[in-house]
């Protein structure tokens, strides 16, 4: 009898210990009643968005003295891998920066884990601020980006373009290209002098951007709507902009414009080739601008868009979402509103970031002026061509790894397109 009661006690202690563990790990989630606001984002401390949003938090605290604010900095990869599980639990915050795209925000929106922000976006005027950049937060009932309901609000923008070394362009007597043929001419001119023109990495994401940048230079809006809307199987014919881009990458590698060894290089290797002045041109997102500003000190640099159709790779930035489980939605809207107002938009632009709606007159930072002007031009001309991996979950990895094989010389463009087609078509037939 004694034995049995001891046994029972041990079981009880073990069970209590386990419950205790569970209880500990459940702290930090959103709790209700309009008395607290839990905010997560994953922008790096000190970058333009982070500075603007930190200021928005300060303004929020001032405007809501009775509300306790909990802020946690996350990592992009964390939300990419575990975002759905977090939103599906009771530990979701009240508002968080979420990864745009069908496989991420689209997937959770279609499962009802995100609050429909369509009405609040129009009553608070966020749709006007974001303009066509709002696409990244708009999903249909299948979770596919495009016409549908607004589930996410971008408060900054981004685009990918060429960055070039002005000193090397002058030294080799080369001028900034305005057509695709001229671009090829520039690359050839550098190669003829023994300089590998492009700082590139095919072991990481930069080559994926270059592929899509070239495809967009040859694409039409119709073709893009079909591609992103999963309206049919992947067009891998010779006329497909994507096929042409794969062929171009293979040609440029064969001619030495892209180093075939770049299949073993990481993104940082490519950036340092540009920043050290070894390679005259690179193709990078606006998020690299602060890095170039601080590290490319020995020469003057500038940027130009991919010449061609006028469509460039880019979009609204990652989006604010409000989990369905949030008990403090009004407070969350107040915070989002602060990140969208003129003060914060100008702050982001002046820190060298791409704001959605900064006052041109209020932006004094030269880099901020340059990137904001270009972004506005792209928004106004409907020239934001989004990113290639958005239609299909895991498509980024498929493109990246096959591009690595293509640049490494172990694959031909038609084999490359075959790999992409099989992943795209498999998902298209299940979701389309």
């Amino acid at each position: 009898m004694v034995m049995r009661s001891r046994l029972a006690r041990s079981v009880a202690i073990a069970a209590a210990a386990m419950l205790g563990l569970g209880a500990c790990s459940s702290s930090g989630g959103a709790s209700g009643g309009g008395k607290s606001l839990t905010v997560w984002w994953y922008e790096q401390a000190g970058n333009a968005e982070d500075l603007g949003w930190k200021d928005a938090l300060t303004a929020f605290e001032k405007a809501h003295p009775g509300v306790k604010v909990h802020f946690e900095r996350k990592v992009w990869q964390q939300i990419q891998d575990a975002g759905a599980m977090i939103l599906n639990s009771d530990k979701a915050p009240d508002v968080l920066e979420y990864n745009k795209g069908n496989a991420t925000a689209g997937a959770v929106a279609s499962k009802g884990l995100l609050t429909d922000l369509t009405t609040v976006a129009s009553t608070r005027g966020w749709d006007k601020v974001a303009g066509s950049a709002l696409t990244v937060g708009t999903y249909d009932s299948r979770g596919i980006m495009g016409p549908g309901k607004v589930y996410g609000i971008p408060s900054y923008g981004e685009y990918v373009s060429f960055y070039y070394n002005k000193d090397l362009f002058a030294k080799y007597g080369v001028s900034v290209p305005t057509t695709f043929d001229q671009l090829v001419g520039v690359l050839g001119a550098f190669k003829a002098k023994g300089v590998t023109p492009l700082a590139m990495s095919a072991g990481d994401y930069p080559a994926v951007h270059l592929l899509w940048g070239i495809a967009l230079a040859k694409a039409t809006h119709d073709w893009l709507n079909g591609y992103f809307g999963l309206k049919g199987k992947l067009d891998s014919s010779a006329n497909s902009p994507l096929t042409a881009a794969a062929q171009t990458i293979a040609d440029w590698t064969a001619k030495g414009y892209i180093d075939n060894k770049s299949s073993g290089l990481k993104a940082d290797d490519a950036w340092s080739l540009f920043e050290s002045g070894k390679a005259p041109i690179t193709f990078a997102g606006t998020w690299m601008v602060p890095d170039f500003t601080t590290k490319a000190k020995t020469f003057k640099w500038g940027s130009f868009l991919m010449p061609g159709s006028g469509i460039s790779e880019g979009s609204g930035g990652n989006i604010w979402v409000v989990p369905s489980a949030s008990h403090n939605k009004e407070l969350a809207y107040d915070f989002i509103g602060l990140t969208m107002d003129k003060t914060r938009q100008n702050e982001i632009a002046n820190a060298g970031g791409v704001a959605l709606a900064a006052d041109t007159a209020a932006v004094t930072d030269p880099v901020g002026k340059m990137v904001n002007a270009t972004f506005h031009q792209l928004v106004a001309s409907k020239g934001l061509g989004l990113y290639p991996d958005w239609p299909v979950p895991n498509f980024y990895n498929v493109i990246q790894q096959n591009l690595q094989t293509l640049v490494g010389g172990n694959q031909k463009p038609d084999q490359f397109m075959g790999q992409l087609k099989s992943a795209y078509d498999q998902y298209q037939s299940s979701a389309g």
């Binding site: 079981v11 069970a15 060894k261 299949s263 073993g264 990895n397 094989t405």
Partner: protein
């Protein structure tokens, strides 16, 4: 020359405990049992259940029966991932065990007697260091070393190799390169265990063999290897299992690429789970992997028990 390996006499039989005494021990098993239940058994059961469904990780799963398993049978990526596992067994179990055993013997009865125990310990520590280093740190360091313009290639260039390999960026070189890194990581593990095992061998056996005129390698083959058999079994078993479920080195070095050149089952399961949101299929891959690991472990333990006559 015949040497009969002295088999340790099995200890005198301990009389079996009374029922009450046995029950007294039960409560000590509770923490471990609860942990096993909560962290292994329940999640594994859930994993098996999910593998019979189609699920994106959110919302409710749909029961699809054996569909995921049927797909798995015809999935080239899955089978190529298993083929890579066999290469990883060579890199993580076979080569490190063979090399580790040899190096342990060199350290134990060549280096230690001639250069002192401290030198042997220092070298043993050196070989074991990769086991202590966090895999991410080691992986990042290796990706610098194996960078097309990294340390290895600049040395090769100095030796006149005009076009050294693109180690991790070329589909033909990536798998051998990752294997090389894994051999480096694993050698120390077996070596330390083998050295401990060698300390257990009765010195008389070596003396007798030496008196019979056996050279070092003959003694290694006929005394050291047979005497360290239990250790060899343990090392082979644990490293084979580690090789089958290898994830971190692949994740850090190549993420399965270029293409699918270094893809392995656990990484494939991960990409299905978190990348393409095919949680049901990812679970099926994980379930098959677990079953293979269990079957292999049972076979190993059986073979070992039989050879020890237990």
């Amino acid at each position: 020359m015949t040497i009969t390996a002295a088999r340790p006499q099995s200890a005198r039989r301990v009389p079996s405990l009374t029922r009450a005494a046995r029950q007294g021990y039960v409560r000590y098993l509770i923490p471990g049992g609860a942990g096993f239940l909560a962290l292994i058994l329940v999640p594994f059961g859930m994993n098996v259940a999910i593998s019979f469904t189609s699920w994106s990780g959110i919302g409710s799963p749909h029961f699809v029966g054996l569909k995921n398993y049927r797909r798995l049978v015809h999935d080239d990526l899955f089978w190529s991932a298993f083929e890579h596992s066999i290469w990883f067994i060579i890199a993580m179990a076979v080569v490190p065990t063979a090399l580790g055993l040899f190096l342990a013997a060199v350290l134990f009865d060549y280096v230690a007697p001639r250069f002192g125990r401290r030198t042997a310990s220092f070298l043993r520590g050196g070989f074991y260091l990769p086991q202590v280093l966090p895999i991410t740190v080691a992986g990042i360091a290796w990706s610098w070393i194996l960078n097309p313009y990294g340390a290895v290639n600049s040395v090769l260039k100095d030796f006149g190799v005009s076009d050294p390999p693109n180690w991790l960026g070329d589909s033909n070189w990536a798998l051998p390169s990752v294997m090389l890194v894994l051999v480096w990581m694993q050698i120390g593990y077996g070596l330390v265990i083998f050295m401990a095992g060698m300390a257990r061998i009765d010195p008389q056996l070596h003396e007798a063999a030496e008196l019979d005129g056996a050279a070092w390698f003959t003694r290694f083959r006929n005394v050291t290897v047979p005497q360290t058999r239990p250790e060899i079994f343990v090392v082979l078993l644990t490293t084979t299992i580690a090789a089958l479920k290898v994830f971190a080195p692949v994740f850090v070095l190549t993420r399965g690429g270029p293409g699918d050149a270094t893809n392995v089952p656990s990484f494939y399961s991960y990409t299905n789970f978190f990348g393409s949101l095919q949680v049901g299929y990812g679970s099926a891959v994980a379930t098959v992997l677990t079953l293979i690991v269990i079957v292999l472990a049972v076979i190993f333990v059986r073979v070992q028990s039989r050879s020890e006559g237990v």
